[in-house]
């Protein structure tokens, strides 16, 4: 049959998004766009302390307020069952006790006839607290620390001795601030009970996860809960858990006996959906005088909420990026009275990469090597941890081609050597070795007698292009035009889908679609075999091909039948097949899944007097394995780059150390890049289809972000001679 392996590395320049027409006309419907007859509106009440107990909560005024139907607090909330974990914990049900664990925690919900009435009444709930001292400082010795939280601390060789003997050593601390995902779409849950069944229109990245958690909490079977997420206004990791507003909306709907819509406000998006951890990275590098690494020690500390759970192995990047005979990596978490920390586009990698790639740059200056050369000199040809080959790895090409496109050779190696007017000019580079996480996934493919085909999986398209690339992939595998194939997703009743996270969805659902298409073609072959008049009666699947809706003998397109005819002959309306995928095992394959690789080249302009940083241009070259749709893949890298610019220069979720309140929880105060911040961006893909999954992809949703911050910091050093080891880099750090 037609296999993906026979297809080119880049499947054409890329078609337009198939959901584009809906999105440019305002017809794509997000959770908050749905309304139901009799629907009521909810508004949350949040704590104004970070640690303590509620001693009194008075809802009298709120209940008397216009249009209010119900006020729910811990005093009258339903008792809900414990929230089950996925690969990570979910928040426990809200309103189950009087304990306050962070500023902004939900302590009540008001349901009213209009949003205006609900919001106004929520402000009328009076609360008194017993205030406890909040732990807010990551370095507070009283704060609980979790060592080796994921059992991934790594050591090989003898780092201590190697460092002692190293002629050159770098020993520095790199910090990154807390960032907030801030997808533009306000997360919304519209909950509607019908007897014991529940329908949710919900913003998330994993409908089956929400379904499972809500069903468990409310003690109903999973198939009694349906979660619909055809579109979601961005996620960047924010939708990978079942956040507390979801059960709150479900509970509220049960209390008032009608559908309830709970739409978070922007400030609530800062406390209610998690945010990127702050990180502290302590790095020691040992090297020879000519710049060859002899030891890497990378320790990290990241922030964690009191009852939270988070996977942010910042130090892991140091296990795979460079060849070093001696490596130690250790991670720790510290529990604080802060809102949940959570995945945000490239968790762990983004912070750890900033630290490691800054340190490598410092080493280059220390030994007098070109920062590009030192990265090539210490290139990891095989997985340095296991000695296994990579499933594919084009990092060297990323660096070399990127340098060419950027004009790295025009760089004057001296610091403060390039300027124009008030501005110092600097060039910086960073390499990226990225990990991705694949989950099991299933999909169904259906071919109908009218020539149309449908692919179904309970996944989401958070803007990454799943609607489009899965339709393209199925069309390729079934020999159909892309217009004939419709990808359907975002419904928990469809075949169980994987999370749209960890850069793993394309591999997961793509492999499932690949499997389903293979099985569907097999079914057609089997059907044909039962028809003695079929020109395909006696061929096996290995000897057929499909194109233009026809199945035919390999090498002889005249001997075959159309798929539609096979159905007609057998009196069938449609034929369907289920497929699934599970991640391969590195042990079985004898190779290390390389994940995407990349290189960033950045030109910065630093106003010497004012300290203002402007990015002039960025070259970002990435190895994403097989690229299913280059246009959309480029958009993923572009978006990641913008996220990286935000992390490098702007984004900082600030906590008041007195109160634990997030001090800048609005779009006016928390700065994300705007259009005017954009440099020229050159995007290019290199590499080969990856050997780790059948379709050869690596996933490019996150890697674009990683490395931007380090390249910017390295460029700023080249421009100014100032090494900034904390993010974001702001002008006060650069004013002389």
């Amino acid at each position: 049959m037609t296999t993906i392996q026979q297809q080119p590395r880049i499947l054409g320049p890329g078609i337009n998004r198939v959901d584009g027409p809906l999105k440019v006309t305002g017809q794509a419907r997000y959770a908050n766009d749905f309304s139901l007859p009799g629907m009521a509106y909810a508004a949350v009440v949040r704590s104004t302390i970070a640690s303590g107990r509620i001693t009194r909560i008075d809802t009298t005024a709120a209940e008397k307020s216009a249009g209010v139907m119900r006020v729910i607090t811990h005093e009258n909330a339903d008792h809900l069952a414990a929230a089950p974990a996925t690969f990570i914990k979910n928040p426990q049900a809200p309103l189950q006790d009087d304990v306050i664990r962070y500023h902004g925690q939900y302590i009540g919900v008001v349901v009213a006839d209009t949003q205006q009435n609900a919001t106004a009444a929520a402000r009328l709930v009076e609360v008194e607290y017993e205030l406890h001292e909040a732990l807010l400082d990551p370095h507070d010795p009283r704060a609980e620390r979790i060592k080796d939280p994921w059992g991934e601390d790594t050591a090989w060789g003898d780092v201590r001795t190697a460092l002692k003997r190293a002629p050159v050593m770098i020993d520095q601390t790199y910090t990154t601030s807390e960032n907030t995902n801030n997808p533009l779409g306000l997360f919304t849950t519209l909950a509607a009970w019908d007897g014991d069944t529940l329908t949710l229109h919900d913003s998330n990245q994993w409908p089956n996860m929400v379904q499972m958690v809500v069903a468990t909490m409310f003690g109903v079977p999973e198939d009694a809960v349906r979660v619909l997420t055809p579109f979601v206004g961005g996620g960047f990791g924010a939708g990978l858990r079942c956040w507390s507003h979801i059960p709150l909306a479900v509970m509220a709907a049960r209390h008032v006996g009608r559908p309830v819509k709970l739409e978070l406000t922007r400030p609530e998006m800062f406390t209610g959906l998690g945010h990127r951890t702050a990180s502290f990275n302590w790095i020691k590098l040992g090297a020879t005088r000519d710049g060859r690494l002899t030891a890497i020690e990378h320790e990290s500390l990241t922030t964690l909420s009191m009852e939270g759970d988070e996977y942010e192995p910042c130090s892991s990047v140091s296990c795979s990026a460079y060849a070093s005979p001696n490596v130690t990596t250790r991670d720790q978490q510290v529990k604080l009275n802060i809102p949940w920390t959570n995945f945000m586009r490239a968790p762990g990698d983004s912070q750890g990469n900033f630290a490691l790639e800054s340190a490598i740059d410092e080493l280059a200056w220390e030994v007098g090597l070109d920062p590009l050369e030192i990265r090539l000199l210490n290139y990891a040809e095989v997985d340095p941890k296991t000695g296994r080959p990579w499933s594919s790895n084009a990092l060297r090409q990323c660096l070399e081609i990127g340098a060419q496109r950027f004009g790295w050779s025009r760089r004057n190696p001296e610091i403060r050597s390039m300027r124009e007017g008030h501005e110092l000019i600097g060039y910086g580079v960073a390499g990226v070795s990225f990990f991705w996480y694949q989950q099991p996934c299933s999909a169904k493919v259906i071919f109908r007698a009218d020539g149309s085909a449908y692919v179904r999986s309970a996944v989401t398209d958070i803007g990454t292009g799943t609607y489009t690339i899965m339709a393209q992939l199925a069309a390729r595998l079934l020999g159909l035009d892309v217009e004939q194939v419709e990808m359907q997703l975002g419904d928990s009743e469809m075949p169980a889908g994987a999370a749209a996270g960890g850069s793993g969805l394309t591999a997961a659902v793509g492999s499932a679609v690949h499997d389903a298409c293979g099985r569907l073609v097999q079914k057609f072959v089997d059907l044909a075999a039962t028809d003695p008049f079929s020109p395909l009666a006696d061929v096996g699947i290995e000897n057929v091909e499909v194109s233009e809706g026809r199945l035919y003998r390999k090498g002889d397109p005249t001997r075959g039948e159309s798929l539609a005819r096979i159905l007609a002959v057998h009196g069938l309306d449609e034929l369907a097949a289920d497929g699934s995928s599970t991640p391969n095992s590195p042990d079985e394959l004898g190779m290390t899944p390389a994940g995407a690789r990349g290189a960033r080249f950045v030109e910065v302009r630093v106003d010497e007097d004012l300290g203002r940083v402007r990015l002039a241009r960025i070259v970002t070259v990435n190895d994403g394995g097989r690229i299913l749709n280059e246009k959309l893949a480029r958009s993923q890298i572009l978006g990641g780059t913008v996220g990286g610019i935000g992390m490098a220069l702007f984004e900082d979720t600030v906590t008041d150390m007195d109160t634990g309140r997030i001090a800048n929880a609005t779009f006016g105060d928390y700065l994300v890049p705007v259009n005017a911040d954009m440099p020229d961006v050159h995007i290019e893909f290199v590499g080969e289809p990856d050997a780790f999954n059948p379709i050869g992809v690596k996933g490019v949703g996150e890697i674009g972000l990683v490395g931007v911050a380090a390249a910017v910091a390295n460029a700023i050093f080249h421009a100014t001679g100032k090494r900034i080891r904390s993010l974001p880099i702001t002008m006060d750090m650069l004013m002389d």
Partner: protein
């Protein structure tokens, strides 16, 4: 009774509660959910609509203030070349900011401010795109402006 003229249609509205913003009226009363709420406080541009020929933020405009004014929303565009250009240049990802971006871009053409990429970037900066499609948005606007 307040009358909103939205996309050429008159909509009489009972605004006994004047807290209803233009954005809420469009979305909750008229079912025109193409206009999006991203911050509800004038800091993201997702709710951009055109009122009497000028782009405004519907989240900070009370519906009552719009009595008799002509409002154009994304639903009121009739196959505008900007929509096609946004698709061809992949000027969006999740699509949530897209209505606001397109309304802003359409108004920008009328303001004669799409002369250079720098101008497009500056005068489109009131519309956040968290997916980061900015360069593609500039490409789409540039193309339509050149052919206008």
């Amino acid at each position: 009774m307040t009358t909103l003229i939205v996309n050429g249609m008159e909509h009489p509205l009972d605004l006994a509660d004047p807290r209803v913003t233009l954005l809420d009226a469009l979305r909750d009363r008229l079912g025109l959910t193409g206009t999006k709420k991203g911050c509800d406080q004038g800091a993201c541009g997702a709710c951009t609509v055109i009122a009497d020929g000028r782009r405004i933020l519907s989240c900070l405009t009370l519906a009552a203030q719009c009595d008799g004014r002509e409002i154009t929303t994304i639903e009121g565009l009739e196959s505008h070349p900007m929509q096609d250009a946004f698709m061809r240049h992949d000027a969006f990802q999740c699509g949530y900011c897209t209505s606001g971006q397109i309304m802003s871009a359409v108004a920008l053409l009328g303001e004669d401010r799409a002369g250079s990429d720098d101008d497009i970037r500056e005068f489109m900066s009131g519309n956040l795109c968290r997916c980061g499609a900015y360069s593609n948005i500039v490409a789409a606007v540039r193309e339509v402006a050149r052919h206008a």
